[in-house]
């Protein structure tokens, strides 16, 4: 007897809970398409890939369900809530790389179309080029500080995964010390190698930016800094702080002075430098201490810039006070005579002004009235009536 009651209770519970489940599941559908972004990829690369759907609400992520892509790369999730506050994230793995994307249902729509582009990988760096390589040199009394910025471009359509866990390579001078990165997270993306540094992140098609810095000892007499290009480089720029240090190089052309902040730099540049080109920079001469020899112009400009907001406030106050001063000066003028006489004179003058204004206004009105009559906006009777009254008033004003 107990068994049927238990079954009945479960059934009842299911019936009560069913609408809630239906509401929770919703009617949203995600129609997905896996595509391979590499031109010569195998045709079946998009088939049979496991796609996982996650739901992100209020910062917490939970797995909703998984599915497998069909032979043409299509996949589909259904019974989803279309709430705009829910962010759907789907992930799939191909050749050891996890691809993911996020999306929400468009307002009022129950179908969400998503496209996931996967790519083939390559360990060849033949299609890796450097669009821009900046070398920035600053000097202290005992060292030269070097910052290097690279903008790489993977011009192929495969993800460059390198060999043995490292991808892009960077050379460092023999005497380089204190190698530093923007933050600890960036530092974790590099490993030290024999020739210098190597990147551990994969380089997808498109741009990848890398920035690091280091110092080399320099006593102000002479130093030859050897640098080299490991990849074909479109633009190579050297910026050396203009603090008295002589810079000579055969591979780069001097392009004049350039300003950066309050400092100026000697600018050297080269274009379309082939891979494995040796660059030699010969430095000589002691740097001036920036603090010891400030340029008069830059310190004046800096001081003025510092004081600019205060100057704006000052000008605003000056503007506000000036009318008071003008008023006081005007009142203090001797020709005003006795207060009573002055006041009377003002009244007479004002009355004169008022009469003049009235006369001008009446003349203008009469002219306007003539125009209105000519344009047919007034009938003759109204025109004569108004015109006569105005002319009479004009006469009165003249005799006032």
């Amino acid at each position: 007897m107990k068994r049927p009651i238990l079954l009945l209770s479960v059934l009842l519970l299911c019936l009560v809970a069913a609408p809630a489940v239906v509401v929770a599941q919703g009617e949203g559908v995600i129609e997905g398409q896996v595509m391979n972004g590499t031109a010569d990829a195998p045709e079946d690369s998009v088939a049979s890939l496991e796609v996982a759907l996650y739901q992100v609400t209020d910062g917490s992520t939970e797995l909703v369900t998984t599915t497998v892509s069909e032979s043409d790369g299509r996949f589909r999730f259904q019974g989803l809530s279309t709430d705009e506050d829910i962010l759907y994230r789907f992930e799939l793995e191909y050749q050891g790389i996890v691809y993911g994307a996020e999306s929400v249902f468009p307002s009022g729509d129950t179908v969400l179309h998503v496209v996931a582009t996967i790519r083939e990988t390559t360990s060849s760096d033949d299609l890796i080029v450097v669009d821009r390589h900046h070398l920035i040199l600053d000097f202290a009394s005992d060292a030269a500080f070097v910052r290097e910025l690279y903008i790489f471009n993977n011009v192929g359509d495969r993800i460059y995964v390198g060999e043995e866990g490292t991808t892009l390579r960077f050379s460092l001078p023999d005497s380089a010390a204190d190698v530093a990165f923007a933050d600890s997270e960036t530092a974790a993306e590099f490993v030290m190698t024999e020739e210098g540094l190597a990147y551990v992140r994969r380089a997808p098609p498109g741009e990848t930016q890398v920035l690091y810095s280091y110092s080399v000892p320099y006593d102000g007499r002479e130093l030859t800094l050897r640098r080299g290009t490991l990849y074909p480089t479109s633009n190579l720029d050297l910026l050396a702080a203009n603090v008295g240090v002589q810079v000579e190089t055969a591979q780069l052309t001097y392009d004049g002075l350039t300003a950066a902040g309050d400092d100026t730099y000697l600018h050297f540049a080269a274009e379309d430098v082939p891979a494995e080109t040796a660059i030699e920079l010969r430095l000589s001469g002691a740097p001036h201490s920036a603090a010891a020899l400030p340029s008069m112009e830059s310190s004046l400009v800096a001081a003025l810039r510092e004081a600019a907001p205060a100057m704006a406030v000052g000008l605003a106050l000056l503007g506000a006070l000036l009318p008071f001063a003008q008023l006081r000066l005007r009142r203090a003028r001797p020709e005003a005579g006795t207060p009573g006489a002055g006041a009377k004179a003002e009244i007479v003058e004002e009355a004169g002004v008022e009469t003049d204004t009235q006369r001008e206004e009446l003349l203008r009105l009469i002219a306007d009235l003539d125009d209105a009559y000519e344009e047919g906006l007034l009938n003759e009777e109204a025109y004569r009536q108004l015109s006569d009254k105005m002319k009479k008033r004009l006469g009165e004003t003249s005799t006032d």
Partner: protein, 674 residues
């Protein structure tokens, strides 16, 4: 150059504070010299602000990336027109642009004020100077476009790819011209209240300023809708986004204001309805900026969120409280509102128009602000709310647009009105019959298009009867009679042209929203797909690098089945990947005809097989929205340009009537419908 820009801004602040104190002191002490100097200081502010804008343009063109604004909104490969439009692409630049436009408007107000009374001119200049000072303080101390970085970046971050569209060169400045322009009617209204000259003619004073700002805001909004249509790639043009609503709200109240300015009782003096609508319009313009910049309500336009929103909120409160207090102080002297003994009269129709416009504004404002409380109430409003409420309110408004021109000021003659409406009604019914014959069964569509036909026939009849009387009066040929009619009654016929523009926009909105066909398809090379009478054949695909971006293009031949299948177009939807941005941008391909648009957006592709994914939309009549926007522009320009002579007549006769106490009935007006 950036230092010079900052310095000129500081000088502008100095001259503006001089203007405020000089005008306030001059008015209080009756010192005309000081008042005149205060007004002249506004010219100086405009000159300094012009120099500041030129300085910002210079640093943008020189690509001085040490200036933070230049580095944040441009890059060395940005095209020249977009480098110039970067002036208003970011918050700091757009605030400077706003302030400069305000100073130019202020100068024009002072210059035009020479004909108005001294005290009105002084008070209105004072109000403009106060608003100018508020914006200058923001530009100098909170959002300075000339802020410098401590280093020089090798290149700028570039402009948001979505903003790199021709519509974005014109849309923001035109909308700003509208927003800022409403400062002038606001200043003039406060000036009337402050000076106590409540019986002076108010309508001629503010009419043209209101029309100019209304026109700019309307055209700017249509330009914005077109940008969304061609750039966002979802096939729509209006998403009821808070910022879109922010430009629509003041446009609705200003439309109500224009209709309230047509009321003729009180001989054009200031009335409470004018104050309410002017202050509401100005406050809604400030509210729009608050919405964009505060991030209080999430919006796709809220590119930059900053504490500047709080300053705008404070300013908004000051505007509303200040205007309310001032109105209450002067309430005894204000003219009564128009009313009519008859229910069927022009006054009643205009009142109904104003009420409906304000109701539409209130409904949209409620929906815009609703997200603030939706979490508390656990209820969310969808776009359906906006679509339904605006259709329910604006539908009757369109109908009213067809009836109003046939009413008379005197009213009461409902039989006469019914007789005059027979032809428009016949036009509406004919349209309904035609649509039913063509197989359209959707009641909403039939009613909407029939109402549009009713209004169109009614408006064209107004032109016809005007032309007939003009020919009878002058005996001239058709063309000279038309010119003479338009020249004599520009505002009336300009208004009718605007009405025709609104009808066209309505037709476009109804057609494109109720009968849109939308499909997401994937196509293999050489495959075809048929949608809404068109057959698409996928011809080829390319992925090519371009300046600053890579472009993926699909080529599709479009065939249309008329009597026989023929190729009508080749469309090339693109997806662009800007090097400076992670965000891909759709460059949609559209085949536009008066009947419908075929809209293709490339959503994805597979390099190996060159299979493409497309969003295909057939959007009927959508082109009429843009044509309607153009007609609206023509109508408003007709009403405005060159209206000097006519306005002088109105003002002159209005003044004469007031001063000399002549009976208004002696004026013939314009066929009894002045």
């Amino acid at each position: 150059m950036s230092d010079l820009g900052f310095f000129t801004l500081s000088l502008a602040l100095g001259t503006t504070t001089y203007s405020i104190v000089g005008l306030a002191l001059g008015i209080r002490k009756g010192d005309e010299g000081l008042t005149a100097a205060g007004k002249r200081a506004i010219y100086a502010s405009a000159v300094f602000l012009t120099l500041a804008v030129l300085a910002l343009i210079y640093v943008l063109l020189a690509r001085d990336f040490q200036v933070e604004y230049v580095a944040s909104h441009t890059s060395s490969d940005l095209a020249l027109p977009y480098t110039l439009s970067a002036l208003w692409a970011g918050q700091e630049g757009s605030l400077l642009f706003w302030t400069w436009v305000l100073s130019v408007y202020g100068t024009a107000l002072v210059l035009s004020g020479r004909r108005a009374s001294q005290s009105l001119s002084s008070y209105s200049s004072l109000v403009v100077a106060c608003v100018l000072a508020f914006f200058l303080v923001l530009v100098i101390f909170v959002n300075n476009p000339f802020q410098r970085l401590d280093f020089v970046p090798a290149d700028g971050l570039g402009m948001n790819p979505l903003l790199q569209n021709p519509a974005m060169i014109w849309h923001p400045p035109v909308v700003y011209l509208g927003y800022v322009g409403f400062t002038v009617p606001f200043a003039l209204t406060l000036a009337v209240l402050l000076s106590g000259r409540l019986n002076d003619p108010y309508v001629p004073l503010v009419r043209r300023w209101t029309l100019v700002s209304w026109l700019c805001l309307g055209v700017g909004t249509v330009l914005g809708a077109q940008w969304a249509y061609v750039e966002l790639g979802w096939g729509g043009y209006w998403a009821w986004d808070p910022v879109e609503n922010a430009s629509l709200l003041p446009w609705l109240t200003s439309t109500a204001l224009i209709h309230s300015l047509m009321m003729r009782r009180g001989r054009g003096a200031l009335k409470v309805s004018h104050i309410v609508l002017v202050v509401a319009t100005f406050a809604l313009c400030i509210f729009g900026t608050f919405v964009t910049r505060s991030g209080m309500i999430s919006s796709v336009h809220a590119f930059a969120v900053s504490p500047i929103g709080l300053y705008f909120l404070a300013f908004l409160i000051a505007v509303i409280v200040g205007s309310t207090v001032l109105t209450l102080r002067r309430r005894a002297g204000l003219k009564g509102e128009d009313g009519s003994e008859s229910l069927v009269s022009r006054s009643t129709a205009l009142w109904l128009t104003i009420v409906l416009l304000v109701a539409a504004m209130a409904a949209i404002l409620l929906g815009t602000l609703f997200p603030l409380v939706s979490d508390l109430l656990n209820v969310a409003l969808t776009t359906d709310y906006f679509n339904l409420s605006s259709a329910l309110i604006l539908g009757p408004l369109i109908l009213l647009m067809g009836i109003c021109p046939f009413t008379t000021w005197k009213g009461g003659d409902s039989r006469g009105l019914s007789r005059r409406l027979i032809a428009p009604l016949a036009g509406g019914l004919l349209m309904a019959a035609l649509l039913l014959l063509l197989g359209l069964r959707d009641p909403l569509g039939v009613v909407a298009f029939s109402v549009c036909a009713f209004v169109t026939v009614g408006t064209l009849l107004q032109f016809y009867s005007g032309l007939r009387s003009s020919r009878r009066a002058s005996g001239a040929n058709l063309l000279s009679a038309l010119v003479s009619m338009l020249r004599k009654q520009r505002s009336r016929y300009g208004g009718y042209v605007v009405h025709l523009g609104i009808v066209m926009i309505t037709v476009g909105v109804v057609g494109s929203s109720a009968y849109k066909i939308e499909e997401s398809i994937t196509l293999d090379q050489g495959a075809t797909h048929t949608v809404g009478g068109y057959t698409l054949r996928y011809e080829g695909f390319s992925y090519l690098p371009s300046v600053g971006k890579d472009v993926a293009t699909a080529t599709l031949a479009v065939y249309e089945r008329d009597k026989q299948v023929k190729q009508v177009a080749v469309l090339r939807p693109e997806k662009q990947f800007f090097h400076s941005s992670q965000q891909p941008v759709s460059e949609v391909a559209i085949r536009s005809t008066l009947k419908e648009d075929l809209y293709l957006a490339l959503t994805g592709w597979e390099d190996a097989s060159q299979r493409i994914a497309l969003e295909v939309i057939v959007s009927p009549l959508v082109v009429w929205i843009w044509i309607g926007g153009g007609v609206l522009l023509v109508g408003a320009v007709l009403a405005l340009w060159p209206a000097r002579r006519r306005e002088a007549v109105e003002q002159g006769t209005g003044l004469a009537v007031d001063r000399l106490g002549a009976s208004e009935d002696t004026l013939t007006g314009e066929g009894g419908q002045r």
